[in-house]
Symmetry: C2
Subunit: 315 residues, 2 copies
């Protein structure tokens, strides 16, 4: 009988845990059973990363997992003061989503520049209407969030000829600090949010920032819904403060059918899928098994989250 | 009174001809007056490049313009045996459309990979439906047409991490010859047509070539409609021989409202606009004035079309 108990919070099981046979006792939990199972677990894999159950069930004291891994880039849904204060190590899926999300942002930028949503709408009406569209090479982007996802987005936009500035929590080589944000947003054609959700960033994109943007500019959010004051964005679009936006993440997911965002003018709504390419679950599971093998052999874990800051500190 | 007569076939006039004041007598023609005005013109600017009037009105013998410039990349609409046999020099707008069309193809590739048309359709129904989408980095493209437009498309696709092969009329460094086309199409995820329309290329994309493609592959045409046998493409889509397509050009333009292509499964229809960015008319006019000044001073003209081949020979 293996000595290690691996607790997995999931709806459907990760595809590669068969590799751990004989090395870990794998126990599956759902939202209702998690609290009861946590004290006996050595490791917790948060596979159902859209759940708030960990934050709600995390024990204040007594036995608890020594290591928690989440199959997501953001850790906002699981973090709570008790987990932050504990000596439990938290790791995330940093690296898996970078390139897919960068491509997704590239798709949105090009689709908006080339007026593709209107082309598709006209096609459905069988209407041939020529328009002039935008050249993206030579435009300017401001990418907020200087982790691997933000950096991958910046690399893709630069490859398309877009002059791109990165904004992070602290200024460093190649990265602007928060003090530059207003100035960079004011001259950007594209503002892309790929920041982690922390107490510092919650609601940062509000009427004040949208008001600084150019009327021809567009806003894209692939971070977390709570980074944006959604009512302020809807108003900025309705009043034509900005020309368009695309949201892949929302304060409430799934976005309720009655939300006014579904038909906000110039807004593209997608269902939190920017990083989810074919094979992504397999890749997330492969990454966890790799980390588990390091943990098992006492090697240092990659992707260790700074629990105070709420993300893996970068370079 | 200037000695040079510049005849302009246009619907609305090119924006920069004011620069030629005192240097050319500018005469505007439409489709009905062109034949009568051609014999007295030194230079013909084909500004209305969607018209077939030049081919229909070109004089078999007697006086005619010494130079014809068309504000388009393709010369198929104006070329006729009499013009090809004459000593009239034909130039085109090579260079103006390269980067815009490359971006447009990038937009289509990414939109199809990320399932954007379906996202927009679901949005209009207020339906939240997560899907897994495709990574484009690591996929393969085959770009048919090795002129500046094809090369710009290849550069953009390569910048997105797509392994891209170029196919031209003759094999040379970095360009495959027609003999490789079937093999390259059979393993491509993206087949992009940016070839000139000539007697050799007319109808080249037919059931035989579509039948060679992978069921997961997609076809994009930004060249000329007549390069594709449209019924064969519609059948390839209906029978799921290929996963999707995007046509910006058609055998008959505007595409008639009753055409079955408007709702062919997996087909994106756009109204011949891939190269037409904001400012394109100004850029075309600027290019013509630049060429006119060279012609006036006896310098060699750029972009001279090989009238037998039907395009500007490349490098």
């Amino acid at each position: 009988m293996p000595e290690v108990t691996l607790l997995v919070l999931d709806d459907d099981p990760p595809p590669r845990l068969g590799r751990l046979t004989g090395r870990a006792r794998v126990v599956h939990a759902d939202e209702s059973t998690l609290a009861g199972l946590l004290p006996s677990a050595d490791v917790l894999l948060v596979w159902d990363f859209l759940s708030d159950a960990v934050r709600l069930a995390w024990p204040g004291e007594g036995p608890r997992p020594r290591w928690v891994h989440t199959a997501s880039a953001g850790v906002d849904r699981l973090m709570c003061p008790e987990l932050a204060a504990s000596d439990t190590v938290v790791t995330n899926a940093r690296g898996v989503f970078d390139q897919p999300i960068a491509e997704y942002v590239g798709a949105l930028v090009l689709a908006m520049a080339k007026d593709l949503p209107r082309t598709l709408a006209l096609q459905s009406e069988r209407v041939w209407r020529h328009r002039e569209t935008q050249r993206v090479a030579g435009t300017r982007a401001c990418v907020v969030g200087s982790g691997p996802i933000g950096r991958a987005i910046a690399a893709t936009l630069k490859a398309l000829g877009i002059t791109t500035a990165l904004v992070g929590r602290t200024a460093r080589a190649g990265v602007h600090g928060p003090a530059d944000l207003g100035r960079l947003m004011a001259r950007a054609d594209w503002v892309v949010c790929a920041a982690p959700l922390t107490d510092d960033t919650r609601g940062m994109f509000d009427a004040r920032l949208f008001g600084m943007m150019q009327p021809s500019a567009r806003f894209i959010n692939v971070g977390r819904g709570q980074l944006v004051v959604e009512d302020d964005l809807a108003e900025a679009l309705a009043k034509r403060w900005i020309a368009g936006a695309a949201l892949d993440v929302f304060e409430h997911e799934p976005l309720p059918a009655e939300s006014a965002l579904w038909d906000a003018p110039g807004l593209i709504v997608s269902p939190h899928m920017s990083g989810d390419i074919v094979g992504w679950r397999d890749e997330l599971s492969r990454q966890f098994v790799e980390f588990f093998e390091k943990w098992e052999s006492g090697e240092p874990l990659p992707n260790v989250v700074d629990k105070k800051r709420g993300y893996v500190p970068g370079h």
